[in-house]
Assembly symmetry: D2
Homo-oligomer: 274 residues x 4
């Protein structure tokens, strides 16, 4: 059997970019982390070192910066503009990953960095079809009650006691697929984000899986342009402390927070013809 | 010359602790990272391995958890309770470091983690006197304009062009010393935090040092119980992109964000009899 | 269209585990990070909160720890044992991810942590077939010369000067697929690791893609049990400093090291019938 | 009371720099992280924004890069050259912090990054006197046996069981002060590093404090130019797993590794006239 080149791609990862819109006295700020990845007819550079079909990753970075000059707009659109630009000739496919960091205004020209979730976009273009995903990560949420966990099977390795009241906490990563590119991206993002938060808060939970499904289906219900959502939810364990050696009770008041290990619940919710 | 033991201390670092106050239907949440460090007559354990004067760091952790059962209150007070408890017998001094993470309420029992600065307290007790520091870290702020930097000396290694308009961005770390322990801690923190943000936003800046002094003096002006404040301000460089090779101007619109190196400006502002 | 549950899995991530083999005076140490993920008939817990088919992630962790008691052996084998244990009843598939940290012996019972690459294994079992991947990550390598980059197309966004001599540095992540489970895992890992290092060092490189292919094909040549290898190579840019403003030349001597952005070259090398 | 400026300094932090020595066919590599901090007559820039006494942090970075062109030599010497250069006129003091990352040679021009400790230097110069500290950090070590912990007092918050056999693991951070600047720096570092490792490995330990003192005094014994050493040793807890619920014993074989909290033992060992 011969040894051959398989799937491959190359690009410039994590170009950190701030765009200031100064067209009024009240400046607007867009803070991005942009990664580009291209694929196509790249056998030569792998096999012989000939680079005549390689768009240098430095050029990819320059392109991102130059395109920003005209304004970013919504990150899904910015990704589409970039992806469509890159594809052509030996380049058959482009993938653009964008992270947008949240800032809170505190003056006409002044901002504080907020922590309530990084917005995501992943845009792919293959020369014919563009697909767009939106998303969010690092959206950390916690319910102090309204979560139970019991009724799971007990095998020879099971020691976990059942609980009718626990803290439920997670750092949401969600990516949703749009059915088209004709979408009000800003409204879709805000509605999806709000849906995730509200479903987390108002679901009485018997498992993090159940909460995951509630969050995903709420997004699909509220944003009709989204065909599928994938959620990755670490179960950030809060361990109820045993204070009985110190003569104290602990009715759901004092918890030690663990770093590792953590539960990791991943699942997809999607639309289906029936 | 003999080899001898010098200054030393030991403790339990980074006990991660959540306290839920459930005394009403609207739960309150306190999320802490607590570190304890004790010092005193510790020669034996260093020199012979005898541990009869060592309060095990596991016991220190248990103490933190047990004390939380009665409620945290303000973190400065929680630190004072712990420090005063630990000192006695062979233990001559205690230092308690507390970080408090900010959460935003989104329901009676539901919260989202905010990113706008971690509150700090450092409490020391030596058996006679308690000193308290408050503070904040990871408070990231940015001005899109209102910052110049010019007039600095040019030596043989100077290449930086002068600028009359730049982005100024930093992640504030501040620690302030209270002149007493008879303070409304919550009000002091909120006033200090607001003062830092407002002084950053409304200072027209010719150097980050000038902004630092403005922030520090604003805090001292507005919180009379604070005798001294120390600020550490990384200058998070935003480099204006040269888009001229692409036939584009760039009037303060597109910036690349650097990770390293960064400027680091540190300074103290304090009260003094004159 | 209805909203339905799609692909999903759940498990315990990052159980950090040390196993000491004490059967001779010279102890052996195995230091692991183990993640388990199970999938199967999990609709109930997502849709109704019924947990009777959910193997609690705490139980998964206990199983990992208990299985370690009998000895780890090679991590590929440990993963196979775990994966085969978990599958059955409502659990149709298991994926076990293991990281093994390298330590260097400095005594019969004493070790120092080495940095030269974390060994990886990914084992999947679906009730019928087991597949095993091996790998390595965080293997950072650098050539001070023997790397050129030129001949790439210049479009309107290209400013990068061509170079006939540059530093080439990367942090290797590689995952290789074994064609069977009847393999001398330890020998395969050592041979693959050595092949990666040697191919990196002795390939005169015209692009990191070329180096990637050389590394991948070297592994396939030297380890016949491997059918495919996927490499992810960040191009850790070392920028030659322009010292001419200071009256100094710089013939490949002084470099500034960038954090972000970085090139990212990813590719697969595999066997193919011809 | 007036509000006044207190102690302050400013500089460029974390300039990442690689120097290649190409004067023979076998290249040598020095990989550094350099931070500079200057202090002096800096009231103007804080109070009025006048920058005529401010050596721009960009200039400080350029100076570091230009000085590297002549060769780094030992990092203590490189720090001394830089510190002495910066002080003069309004600049009354300089502090240079250097980290040197370890690499292992695998060819004439090829290297792998090693993880066995980052070398440190801290150089201060005040216009008259230079002081030099050396050090190491991230040197992670582990003994599988030869460590006990018992005999500590039991108060109402003590639950830790005593142990006659445990894993002892730490990530060493050490900084040592040289009594002069007339030192064979390379030899001093190697001897100090070896002394730390050997003392950790061959000390039968009743507490991490005892191990700390053994490590510090070993360094002072073996490197006569060092007057004082400060050690910071996190106790990286390895918890013996209770496998009895699964019908298994665990005679010091299987441990879960904790991230937080961790013990933190800090102490100084120094020479003293008697």
């Amino acid at each position: 059997m011969a040894i051959v080149l398989g799937a491959n791609r190359y690009g410039k990862a994590e170009t950190r970019l701030v765009k200031v819109d100064r067209d009024s006295d009240t400046h607007r700020l867009v803070d991005l982390n942009v990664s580009t990845a291209l694929s196509g007819d790249m056998a030569d550079t792998h096999l012989t070192g000939a680079n005549d079909k390689v768009l240098a990753t430095d050029t990819q970075k320059n392109t991102v910066l130059a395109f920003a000059r005209d304004g970013i707009g919504q990150i899904e659109d910015f990704g589409l503009r970039l992806a469509r630009h890159f594809v052509g000739g030996p380049i058959h496919g482009a993938r653009i990953d964008i992270e947008q960091y949240p800032w809170t205004r505190m003056g006409q020209h002044s901002f504080t960095r907020s922590g309530e979730g990084t917005r995501l976009a992943v845009v792919r273009f293959d020369g014919a079809t563009a697909t767009v995903k939106g998303g969010i990560k690092d959206l950390t949420v916690l319910n102090t009650t309204g979560s139970e966990f019991w009724g799971y099977p007990r095998d020879e390795y099971t020691t976990l006691p059942e609980t009718k009241d626990r803290i439920l906490a997670t750092a949401v990563t969600a990516k949703w697929t749009f059915a088209s590119t004709d979408v009000d991206w800003a409204k879709a993002f805000e509605t999806a984000r709000t849906s995730l938060l509200e479903a987390f808060a108002d679901t009485y939970s018997y498992s993090l899986q159940q909460t995951l499904y509630a969050m995903g289906s709420r997004v699909l219900t509220n944003v009709t342009e989204i065909s599928e959502i994938r959620l990755s939810l670490p179960n950030k364990h809060h361990y109820l402390c045993d204070l009985s050696p110190f003569g104290l009770d602990n009715p759901g008041e004092v918890f030690q927070v663990g770093d590792r290990p953590y539960g990791l619940i991943e699942g997809t919710v999607r639309r289906e013809d029936r």
